[in-house]
Amino acid sequence: MRILVLIKQVPDTWGDRRLDPASGRIDRHEPEPVIDEIGERAVEVALRYRDGSEAEVVVLTMGPESATDMLRRVLAMGVDRAIHVVDPALEGADMMTTATVLAAAIRHAGFDVVVAGNESSDGRGGVLPAMVAEHLGVHHLTGLDEVVIDEESVRGVRVVGSERVTVRAALPAIISVTERSPEARIAGFRGIMQAKKKPLERFSLADISAELPARRSIVTTVEQAPIRTAGTTIVDSGDAAVQLADFLTSQRLV
């Protein structure tokens, strides 16, 4: 069994993230690029299955040179090998391009299960796993809070409205997990040493026979919203509730 995990490098959400006003693309230098937390959880889901089986866990990312650091980090968590698709033609890729290229890389690598996060913290599209599934012609189960993988199938729990639905699909399949899935394990010293010897392959678009889609979405305008500032702050000395009620009344909110 081969499990491929999709991970992504994103600007750290603890920093002030910005768009480049000219291109409308996210500024990938500031704040510092890190692995998207949801991708780490996806790796954890794959590793938990591998802990009790013979499966191979491979991480795959499409991204700039700097993404290599992130790949080393997850190799140290216990992932077997890493694949990095890096090509100058991919700068500013839209979702359609990303899905096309990831699908080509997945096909090239071979897989039984692909695990992804449900939404990246920068793009927040939440559609990539489904788009990849469409390209590959496999089932997709997305937005799963809990996942059980076995030899033939994958099963998971998705919350839709007021229902917790347990769904199942035959392999091969692609799944996406939510932040309800377990937190990632911490890499130990041994893992970090081993990671240095693990395979990390780099592919260009030509290497994986990826053809870019003909049509794409383009950003036409970018506008920064005014920064919010503090209004009144009071320290409660017994009458804060009354003052707040006055404020709400003055704003016609009650």
């Binding site: 559609v127 009144t232 702050t233 804060a240």
Partner: protein, 321 residues
């Protein structure tokens, strides 16, 4: 005027989701809406009635043959057939898990550009444009297709439903591809509070954080919400601690809200939480810690204990009524 295809999604029981009203009012800004619905034979009449009441005048029905337990694949086949039938300039779906995936897979199939989580749409020289509020509302971006149609998913609650009952023109789509693939093994109902407004569309929201200390403590948020006619939200820490259900999480990885009033109780205001609520019109925060970041964006901030202030506030609001 170009045709705009509206993908009306249904729940597992075949009921049309309310969001179709939002989609129809957005679609009208772009052109002439045609609504496609995938429904079982016994659901068709109800479906037509619901979309009509929400303002649909042209309806395409694709009949589902299977059990209909998992509808996304059937909805995709219906959307594909409808697309071929009407040749639209844009396709609109709601940006909820499931529905947005149907839209995205359609975009892959037809090789069209995709724009997700739009908060508004308009046309320029006849071409559809999508407006997005990104990075927690700190930027507004417009996007369009470089060529061909634009598939757009619309943020839930982005526009009021514009329901005008009409007499619809209904036609059927035939010869759909077979679509069963995912099996539903079991379903468990989660307790939902139907009396409170929906978080995504509410004009007032009261959110509770880890500062409420326990599930019982969290009920304070519910009590204030009821006094204000508000929806209840929560921080991720409150959700992780089990005080509130996951569907109530506000923030970067939860729901994005932009109500008239947002009240944060015992929430520190981490950047990821602010990303989901900072475009609210008026922000009120109560926090014990005068350095809590939420106070930096609050229009009215109180440094104090929620357990003393909120009950007093509820009494005060009662008294003024």
């Amino acid at each position: 005027m170009g045709t705009v295809l509206v993908l009306a999604s249904t729940d597992r029981k075949g009921r049309i989701r309310e969001s179709v009203g939002t989609l129809l009012s957005m679609a009208r800004r772009l052109g002439d809406p045609v609504t496609v619905v995938a429904a079982r034979a016994d659901e068709v009449d109800d479906a037509v009635e619901t979309v009509t009441a929400a303002g649909a005048s042209k309806v395409l029905i694709a009949e589902i043959t299977g059990t209909g337990e998992w509808r996304e694949n059937a909805e995709l086949e219906a959307a594909t057939a409808a697309y071929a039938a009407v040749n639209p300039i844009a396709v609109l779906a709601i940006n909820a898990v499931g529905a947005r995936e149907v839209a995205a897979r359609l975009a892959v199939r037809i090789g069209a550009a995709l724009a997700t989580d739009a908060v508004a749409v308009r046309t320029v020289d006849g071409a559809p444009l999508a407006e997005h509020s990104v990075l927690g509302g700190s930027f507004t971006v417009e996007s369009r297709a470089d060529a061909g149609p634009l598939v757009v998913t619309i943020r839930e609650g982005a526009a009021a439903a514009a329901g005008d009952a009409t007499t619809p023109e209904v036609s059927r789509l035939d010869n759909l591809a077979d679509a069963e693939a995912v099996t539903v093994e079991s379903v468990e109902e989660i307790e939902a509070n139907e009396e409170r407004p929906d978080l995504r569309t509410a004009q007032r929201v009261v959110s509770g954080g880890r500062g409420l200390g326990s599930a019982e403590g969290f009920e304070l948020a519910g009590r204030l919400a009821d006094a204000l006619g508000a929806a209840v939200g929560a921080s991720r820490a409150a959700v992780d601690a089990g005080y509130a259900s996951q569907s109530l999480q506000v923030g970067q990885t939860g729901v994005t809200v932009a109500p008239q009033l947002y009240v944060a109780l015992g929430i520190s205001g981490a950047i990821q939480h602010r990303a989901g609520m900072q475009t609210s019109k008026v922000i009120v925060a109560i926090n014990k810690d005068s350095k809590a970041p939420i106070l930096e964006i609050a229009d009215f901030g109180i440094v104090g204990d929620v357990f003393t202030i909120v009950p007093q506030l509820i009494d005060e609001l009662d008294r003024r009524r």
